[in-house]
């Protein structure tokens, strides 16, 4: 199949790994995810100042400003994300929280805010957004417990809390594990979802490259006291030596 500007899908998938977007106005996309385009499009960083009004209204998340750009103009934009699956979702007066590295793009009719869960963004309102996942996306209903690495996001429901499996941690094998390495397998810690809504998971535990919550951690260090920073520094050095 040979595509050109006329026969490319209109706001649809070209294949599982790429998506074609009809850009007619403004659109937020994650930096570096453009693979090709036809037409006259411009990519500008949010901090450039040209889109202050747009950013103020739709991008209420200064922490992630450097991860996104504004696309303007008219054209066909093809997006790809390291061979990950891409899907588009229509939100209608909704409230959806997605892992920040998986948000590929969204219309400015949506409002983007930082979730209280580090590394996640919440999209509010009505509009279209694009998300990537490692393998296809599956939808679950609460109550359910989910592995953090497989979680993509959740819609119209309360934020999850952590649930620890004490028997897994305390048992004989847990003791051995704690001696052998100080890195837990991650299976003893799950996200617990309750209430009403939908949970989105990917069919893989491979997180996408790039830490989701580094920005959050760094931004929070500014509130630390001197002696707390000292402790953090010692902790980090310990971690570095053990890796």
């Amino acid at each position: 199949m040979i595509y050109n500007a006329q026969n490319l899908p209109v706001n649809g998938n070209i294949n599982s790994y790429s998506f074609c977007m009809d850009v007619t106005g403004e659109m937020f996309i994650q930096k570096g995810k453009m693979v090709a385009y036809y037409g006259a499009l411009k990519f500008e960083s949010l901090s450039a100042g040209a889109y202050d009004v747009l950013v103020k209204e739709s991008f209420n998340s200064p922490l992630y400003m450097k991860n996104f750009v504004v696309v303007t103009g008219r054209g066909k934009l093809i997006l790809g994300d390291r061979g990950n699956h891409i899907a588009s979702y229509d939100l209608e007066d909704g409230n959806l929280t997605v892992r920040s590295t998986n948000v590929l793009g969204f219309e400015p009719s949506l409002i983007c805010q930082e979730s209280t869960v580090p590394g996640y963004l919440t999209l509010l309102g009505t509009g279209k957004f694009l998300a990537s996942s490692n393998g296809a996306v599956h939808f679950l209903e609460p109550p359910v417990r989910v592995d953090e690495d497989a979680l993509l996001g959740w819609a119209d429901m309360p934020s999850p809390s952590y649930r620890y499996d004490y028997s897994y941690m305390r048992g004989m094998s847990g003791m051995i594990r704690s001696f052998v390495s100080n890195r837990s397998s991650g299976e003893e810690k799950q996200l617990d979802f309750t209430g009403q809504g939908t949970i989105l998971i990917q069919s893989s535990e491979t997180g996408l490259v790039g830490s989701t919550n580094l920005e959050t951690i760094v931004s929070q260090t500014s509130s630390l006291q001197q002696h707390e920073l000292q402790q953090l520094s010692t902790h980090l050095q310990g971690l570095m030596q053990n890796r």
């Binding site: 050109n4 790429s18 499009l41 960083s45 450039a48 997006l79 790809g80 390291r82 061979g83």
Partner: protein, 206 residues
């Protein structure tokens, strides 16, 4: 002409009848029959071609696979794109090149400045003649047409290759705001004008 067939989207089967193909060294995963593998020092380009490749940083090793039988070729479970050529010339990123008919001529040509930003070589590989070329693609490859009225812009890291009467330019989408503020991350693009076909992968090369 050797027979190339996709056993699956990620596995290439080449049937040889006392013939030869050039393949990326180490890409063979299985074979049956009487097949010989030899590392090709000159890469079928002669001494000068091999030198250019070294100097140009198009560092990849080719091997000649010859004999009678079937060879299975794959690379990192990447998807494989088959491009049959009829007395044509394809420009292809050497990091994407997987295999081609030995009867075809390959060469290394200067590709402009894009290597400076994308970490790829300043040179690109051309394969010319009649036969099959197999390329690897991270995710299913997309074929995009370029016409005089519709130029195409491509991220250098997503670019695999092109064929036809196409002019390739390296464009900077940089204005004074981007210079002062943070880069938009899409500042370097390849612009294709003319008439032909461009192959891209839905992924940025790692």
């Amino acid at each position: 002409m050797t027979h190339f067939r996709l056993e699956s989207s990620r596995l290439l089967e080449v049937e040889l009848r006392n013939e030869r193909v050039m393949t990326r060294a180490g890409a063979m995963v299985a074979y049956d029959g009487q097949i010989k593998f030899e590392k090709s020092i000159l890469g079928g380009e002669g001494l000068f071609g091999a030198l250019k490749r070294r100097v140009g940083g198009e560092g990849f090793d080719l091997m000649t696979t010859s004999g009678t039988g079937r060879v299975y070729i794959a690379q990192n479970a990447a998807e494989i794109l088959l491009v049959p050529l009829q007395n044509e010339k394809i420009f292809i990123e050497s990091s994407s090149l997987l295999a081609f008919d030995d009867g075809m001529r390959s060469n290394t040509v200067f590709a402009g400045l894009r290597g400076a930003s994308s970490g790829q070589g300043l040179f690109t590989t051309t394969v010319e003649g009649t036969g099959n070329v197999a390329a690897i693609s991270d995710g299913t490859a997309i074929l995009l047409e370029v016409t005089p009225s519709e130029p195409l812009f491509v991220d250098p890291d997503a670019f695999i290759g092109f064929k036809g009467n196409i002019r390739q330019e390296f464009v900077f989408d940089v204005n004074w705001k981007t210079m002062i503020g943070q880069s938009s991350g899409e500042s370097y693009q390849l612009k294709f004008t003319g008439q032909g076909l461009v192959y891209i992968q839905p992924s940025e090369r790692r």
